[in-house]
Symmetry: C2
Subunit: 253 residues, 2 copies
């Protein structure tokens, strides 16, 4: 499995993804799931993926080849973010079909992949899309300013509490990392190292791209701090009525 | 869907369950999912359920009828907690089979139910079991001191962080309620009111059984406090290196 989350706030976009892939518990590998296509000053795209790794790699190969071959439609000349999402959806469906066609015998392999596409093209607002395996897509919105793919449930509550369009890019990045940390704590198929990319509005370049392992000082500090702060918060929660009484009695003893 | 969680700490057992049932989004009802069978001073059982409501009600009817009819095996005379879990698993399988047998035509209805059984019989330690739809069961343990059924992923991270056998019953209850709150925030099929039951070790009776609605003062206070504390914790997380610099610059301006 995989967990990737992208957040769209007023100040720009933040992307966080894990790197663990698994084809069974005894076939666990590390793969980059965050792919940046950048023409600084002009256009930036970030693609993240969850699902069949072969399909994903086929999609990325097509993406790169279309650019290299200067095809009529490719990421270098596409004019709108929505068109990029639509194009990527088309590549995804084609790659899934190709993979399926090569299967000589009926197999249970799931060739689907789900993608996140975020970025900005000069002259347009930043945009963030979830691209379904079927090739269609939905956009992030002010009411739903984040998109998750993969193992998304464990890390959703903290996003629901914190993410608002008004928060800073840094807070969005911290929240996405905390969401990832909670997921890794509860699910073994999501694992380090983690990739973070920050694309501020109108920067038209990734200003920060970092890879965090569990012992990378900043991330280790963030994890420990969050754990400690949660435990401290926990001790400050209101007491039950009956608890106050029994505590008062204990103090009297 | 449903979310129920039970925690086994050194001091005893805590149970929290929601009350929302849904057979489609336009058929949402409120049902008690926490059932207490208590002979104070002698034995206490708490049963919680997730899955097919008709199956669950059939299981409960059998449980009660076996006691009323003073059957050779019933909750009033059973000698060990494991035997109770085994008995309950048997009733569950029987009820699912009965329901399936009455289906005249092939249907997609899922008759399965997953149960939690917790309690204590005089002379034994408290025990907590997860009973699978197949009728077999697993026990909570010091390493895994909680059991969840239903929509369990959203509320798992906070349990993984907080629940240890050494924490108090009250902290376990608070943590279970926070876990429930996070789940309700992220999933509409889990809903209030919530039921809480506390069974201290060797009390051999439920000392606290409460129902919380969103506006019940204690629970409203707990939810608001947790939200506020999380947001405060969030503001205290470490800054990114690059953030410290840009903030310093901002302060200089």
């Amino acid at each position: 499995m995989t967990y990737c989350v992208a957040v769209k706030v007023d100040d720009g976009l933040v992307f966080v993804g894990d790197t663990r892939t698994s084809a069974g518990v005894d076939d666990v590998r590390t793969y980059n799931k965050m792919h940046v296509f950048e023409t600084p000053g002009e256009r930036v795209f970030v693609v993240m993926s969850a699902g069949n790794l072969a399909t994903t790699q086929t999609v990325l190969t097509h993406l790169r080849r279309d650019m290299a071959d200067d095809k009529p439609v490719n990421l270098n000349n596409i004019r709108h973010m929505f068109d990029a999402a639509d194009y990527l959806g088309g590549l995804s469906v084609r790659s899934q079909k190709e993979a399926g066609a090569h299967t000589q015998y009926a197999s249970n392999v799931d060739f689907r992949t789900t993608l996140i596409l975020g970025g900005q093209i000069q002259g347009e607002d930043p945009a963030l899309y979830l691209i379904y395996p079927e090739g269609n897509c939905i956009s992030a919105s002010p009411e739903t300013p984040y998109i998750q793919i993969g193992e998304s449930k464990y890390g959703k509550p903290i996003l629901d509490r914190v993410i608002r369009p008004q928060i800073s890019l840094e807070d969005a990045a911290r929240c996405a990392l905390v969401s990832m940390d909670s997921t890794m704590k509860s699910n073994l198929t999501v694992g380090p190292p983690l990739d973070l990319a920050v694309l501020p509005r109108d920067a038209l370049r990734i200003t920060h791209k970092e890879r965090f392992d569990l012992d990378t000082p900043f991330y280790a500090n963030l994890r420990k701090s969050w754990g400690d702060l949660l435990m401290r918060s926990f001790t400050e929660l209101p007491r039950f009525e009956w608890e106050a009484q029994s505590q008062a009695q204990t103090q009297l003893l």
